[in-house]
């Protein structure tokens, strides 16, 4: 899978993972404090933030694996920085990344419009929810409460990760620093966007 990847694309993912790894950690701490007041519901509306790097990287690089690897890298960087969530973040990063990747794979890595990006956010939300259901023991909660959590997470994935990711990607493209990546070529019309 990595054969077709240029080194600069891998390093780009890694540096994005650093920037977003720090942001992710800040939000983990904010969410933890919230969680004391309103319980696990606090994490749900923020979940989209934790999916965003996979969507931005895929939007820019447009190669199979970009979503999965960037999210996993962000999780690895979070672990390297050192935090109390520790290695389990890597597992959740892998799962969230796979969710976004699945959405892009479904569309054959051909379209990167806002709908597909939102679908990727939803994919991450669904995958991560199944994992949380198991690891955080949501089975112990009332089904209607779990349904509420699920709805909020899916919305957050679609809006914050999907729309937010596209917004950041486009803003970054406007700075002109993305020349030499698939996103800039697509805009010029070499590749169908």
């Amino acid at each position: 899978m990595l054969k077709s990847w240029k080194l600069k694309e891998v390093v780009l993912m890694s540096l994005f993972a650093v920037v977003f790894g720090i942001i992710y950690l800040l939000f983990v701490h904010a969410a933890n404090i919230w969680a004391a007041v309103i319980g696990p519901l606090a994490y749900e509306w923020m979940f989209g933030i934790w999916f965003i790097v996979s969507i931005i990287c895929m939007y820019i690089i447009r190669k199979p694996g970009a979503a999965f690897m960037s999210e996993t890298m962000a999780a690895a960087i979070e672990v390297l920085i050192g935090n109390a969530m520790g290695p389990r973040l890597i597992l959740s990063g892998v799962i969230q990344g796979l969710g976004a990747e699945a959405a892009f794979a479904l569309t054959g890595y051909k379209h990167f419009n806002i709908l597909v990006l939102m679908l990727a956010g939803i994919g991450s939300a669904v995958f991560s929810f199944v994992y949380s259901y198991f690891i955080s023991g949501y089975a112990a909660l009332d089904p209607s409460f779990v349904a509420l959590m699920f709805t909020i997470r899916v919305l957050s994935g679609a809006i914050i990760a999907g729309i937010g990711g596209k917004y950041i990607g486009d803003a970054l493209l406007a700075t002109g620093s993305l020349r030499g990546y698939a996103i800039a070529r697509a805009k010029k019309g070499d590749v169908n966007a």
Partner: protein, 251 residues
């Protein structure tokens, strides 16, 4: 004895921790996570040299988070039956529900402690090297991640610089927190643009020095699996076994 956890192979430690967490997640009685939590603390007390003050500081948010889990599970818990032990503000709490709530709260504590164990006893660079050597992570990715890791302090400086530049030009910070959240864009985009350029430069530099990203058979800094790892795997599985069996037996 006090440095056993520090000397373990990081990949082995990582796998053990992940496995234990997945195993504990199957249990909904309060005793299993409690026993497991106690076991992990004992492990840290006897086999590591960690700063306990720092440990407490890191655990504090999770104490609070565990409390959040406790009360949501009590209030929004699934219907499980059982006898009502107390009522409060129109909510009847059954013994079953209380046990599950305690179980989830202890689970949060046990998982956080386990994660801190990893964070406090593992050298980040050695962890990546070990992922590459034992778990066959592609060198392209492994060194990519390490480049990112090395850029951390640079990113921090850049963040301060961008903020100072904004202040110099008279861009004011908004008072309200949600407004400030939207303003994040003004810092985020320049930082990401800088990241793109740095990525390109370091990738060129690496390739210019002959880095191909091909898998290799010999490493400059070998990380190995030794006798300690087998010993510690035994200890981990013992703790896991005691808490699973003991927990089911006690409840």
């Amino acid at each position: 004895m006090r440095n056993l956890l520090h000397e373990m192979n990081p990949s082995v430690k990582f796998l053990l921790i992940t496995l234990s967490m997945l195993a504990i997640a199957f249990f909904f009685n309060p005793w299993t996570p409690l026993l497991f939590w106690a076991g992990i603390i004992l492990l840290q007390l006897t086999m590591s040299r960690i700063n306990w003050k720092l440990w407490l500081l890191f655990m504090l948010p999770f104490f609070i988070g565990a409390f959040g889990y406790l009360w949501t599970t009590v209030v929004f818990g699934a219907d499980t039956g059982g006898t009502v032990i107390w009522s409060f503000a129109g909510i009847d709490v059954t013994d079953e529900q209380w046990a599950r709530a305690l179980s989830l709260a202890f689970r949060v504590m046990a998982f956080s402690t386990l994660s801190l164990l990893f964070a406090f006893t593992t050298d980040p660079v050695k962890f990546i090297l070990s992922l590459m050597q034992q778990l066959k992570l592609s060198p392209k990715l492994a060194y990519g991640i390490m480049v990112g890791y090395q850029f951390l302090p640079v990113m921090k400086d850049e963040f301060t610089q961008i903020q100072q530049a904004h202040r110099l030009r008279g861009a004011e910070m908004k008072k309200r927190s949600w407004q400030r959240l939207l303003e994040m864009r003004r810092v985020l985009i320049p930082m990401l643009a800088g990241a793109v350029r740095k990525a390109e430069r370091s990738a060129f530099a690496m390739e210019a020095r002959g880095f191909t990203g091909e898998p290799r058979s010999a490493y400059y800094r070998p990380v190995r699996i030794g006798r300690i790892d087998f010993l510690m795997s035994g200890v981990f599985f013992l703790i896991l076994l005691i808490s699973c069996v003991g927990g089911s037996w006690l409840s």
